[in-house]
């Protein structure tokens, strides 16, 4: 049974197709101004096994042809992320919170705390005994601890986002970021640069300040042993290290492909719904699992 999860984020979109819960294929693209087009394009990316955002695939994919797959072949499709409500061919829309919680367990069984640092909002999720969301918290009021902050600074320093992590590891000192405000962060970074500071040291300071922010955030739901970081941030070694440094004794579990955790969660929810319908003895047509409408 094929199910699909589509995660349309504010910056990037991902699509995952599962076959009876086994990863069949996935893809990613940047989110464009038009969500509907983006949604269709990311499905294309998945069936053609393109992952535009970050080059190589980290997950092993079964060696079967998938490029013939169509939306109609899916038993159920669940959308999540920023544009979840406007994906025309999705049967259900479920929030990132639930999807990251679900997806994280698929990658790291027994996970108890999930941190997802997204484009605009960072989320801390405590996973309950039954794998449900027991509590969650999101950053509000200020974007100081978000991926956007990193993008802005990376851009100001003219370093590709994928490189800021490795680069920061070469730092010789940690320059304190005088401003944790994302908007002012840009000015702060450029100013330091102009004062002749080295990029890696500025980035180390950036990661330090974001690590403090997000850990203060996730602490609100309580941090427990099995700690998972999902989302693009999981690819930033610099930040992950700083998080471990700043939180004594914490060992971060990284999903193999942190970017698709939400989409996987969505695809798993899709599977539930499809199976539920199947049990209910109804056909697995679109209408079949289409109870949300």
């Amino acid at each position: 049974m094929l199910t699909m999860g589509i995660d349309v984020g504010s910056r990037s979109s991902k699509c995952v197709i599962l076959d009876d819960g086994q990863l069949l294929t996935y893809g990613s693209i940047e989110t464009g101004p038009n969500i509907v087009k983006t949604a269709q394009a990311v499905v294309e990316a998945a069936v053609n096994r393109r992952t535009g955002l970050w080059g190589e695939y980290r997950m092993p994919l079964p060696d079967v042809k998938v490029d013939h797959l169509k939306i109609e072949d899916m038993a159920c499709i669940v959308s999540t992320g920023y544009g979840r409500a406007v994906v025309p061919f999705a049967h259900h829309a479920i929030t990132e919170i639930s999807c990251h919680c679900r997806g994280a367990q698929w990658f790291v069984p027994g996970v108890s705390t999930v941190l997802d640092v997204g484009g605009q909002d960072s989320k801390g999720i405590r996973v309950g005994a039954k794998g449900e969301v027991a509590d969650f918290v999101m950053n509000d009021k200020c974007a100081g601890g978000t991926g956007r902050f990193m993008e802005i600074v990376a851009e100001a320093l003219q370093v590709r986002l994928s490189e800021i992590g490795p680069l920061s590891l070469q730092s010789t000192k940690v320059l304190p970021f005088s401003s944790t405000c994302a908007a002012f962060g840009r000015g702060a970074a450029v100013a330091m640069r102009k004062e002749g500071e080295r990029k890696e040291n500025i980035l180390a300071g950036l990661h330090e300040s974001i690590a403090k922010r997000v850990m203060a955030l996730v602490s609100k739901v309580g941090i427990s042993d099995k700690f998972v970081i999902s989302g693009g941030i999981g690819r930033n070694v610099g930040l992950v290290n700083k998080i471990e440094e700043n939180f004594a004794g914490l060992k971060v579990n990284l999903p193999q492909e942190p970017m698709i955790v939400g989409a996987v969660g969505a695809a798993l929810f899709a599977l539930d719904r499809a199976q539920k319908k199947a049990k209910a003895g109804q056909s697995e047509t679109l209408e079949g699992c289409d109870e949300g409408h």
Binding site: K141, C142, S179, A216, N246, F247
Partner: protein, 433 residues
Amino acid sequence: MSDASLITTEELATRLKMAAEGIKKVPGLMKSSVGYMELLQKYVERIATAKEKGKFVATHGTQQPIEIYEAMDVVGVFNEFWGVVSDVVKLESVPEALSISASTGTPGEVCSFFRNMDGLLHVGKWPRTDFFLYATSSCDNVKAFHTLGRRYGIASFGMERPHYPFTSRALDFWKNEHKRLIAFLEEQTGKKLDYDRLKETVRLSYRLTEICLEIDKLVAHVPSPMSSECFGGVLLALRLMCGTQDAVDFLTGLRDELQERVDNGIGAVKEERFRVMWSSFTPFFDPKLMGFMQQKYGAVSVCEMLARWRGESKWMLDPDDPLGNLAYRTQLAPGNCQYAPSIDWAENSVAQARIFTADGAIFNNNWGCKQAAGLGPIVRDELLRHCGVPTLTIACDVIDNTFTSRADIEAQLDGFFEMLEGSKAYQERRAHA
């Protein structure tokens, strides 16, 4: 969260001792700057050693009758002071405490004096405290004393004050609140208050007020004799150690030194170019800023609203009614009008600007202070209207040095002092002097 950078009481005490030694070797500083450091160190020492001396410790907010604590052998820890002195000896401590506070769910928009306390309590690095004492007359944040008190099992007592503190009914009520405070302390400590001792601490406290007013007269001189490194000394003696002989001795020494400097025409700086008043509070978040202003701009701090008495401040009404005196004292005490209606603070600022012939005012708009946020514009307008003193408003956090960068503040100061120099009012004042 990591808590490596957090300051402990013991660390504070030792570092201050070192600082006091170090400052002796620094050339060109006032004698009293050593005295100030020693007084600071004494204050912290008292707290650090309270336990072994078998004394009770009270963490308290502003506008508290410290004289009563002194008379009952209760050692006071002024919660706001803790953040300030942490910045003096270890700048990293406060930001770390604040992020710990944030991790407990306390929002970043409440006063960082209290968030600092919140964070340190959470990891057990706040000075050991037997009870919390507070009063309406500081701000809404005193509610934290109640909530944190319950959270950490520390008894607390709050004193209430009417909105208009100056009516006779308000005075009677406020005096009665003092009685209730004493009852609370007697119950907590199991000791009765010795009223003769209270009379003595109140007498010392009044003496302190008198010397303080003499110091004001000296600081009002042009050029002002008081250098920035002593500026905080008055505040410390006045608001944290009133009722102690130590405070009286320090201020007496300071007064004599200032007198001597005035007689010999010695000013805080070689060439006094600007006289600055702090119309909310001095830059606790950047302990070196005032010294820096002296050097770079010849800008001397002449007055801080938190250390200014109201008028003559003859509050010793009846030596045999210490509580009556104390109740009245709070009405006139420094920083008191912060609690009163904005216009009251503004008028007081105008009066002070005249006494100290200030050229400009700096209003630190403390991010977490809702009183300041609604006060700044009125104070600013009144100062300009009545004595042509312009105001620079700095958006800052009272003790979090990471909130605003020094570069940013310097840029604003550059503009401000250039502006002052160009202004008519300033040139006239200079012509006078």
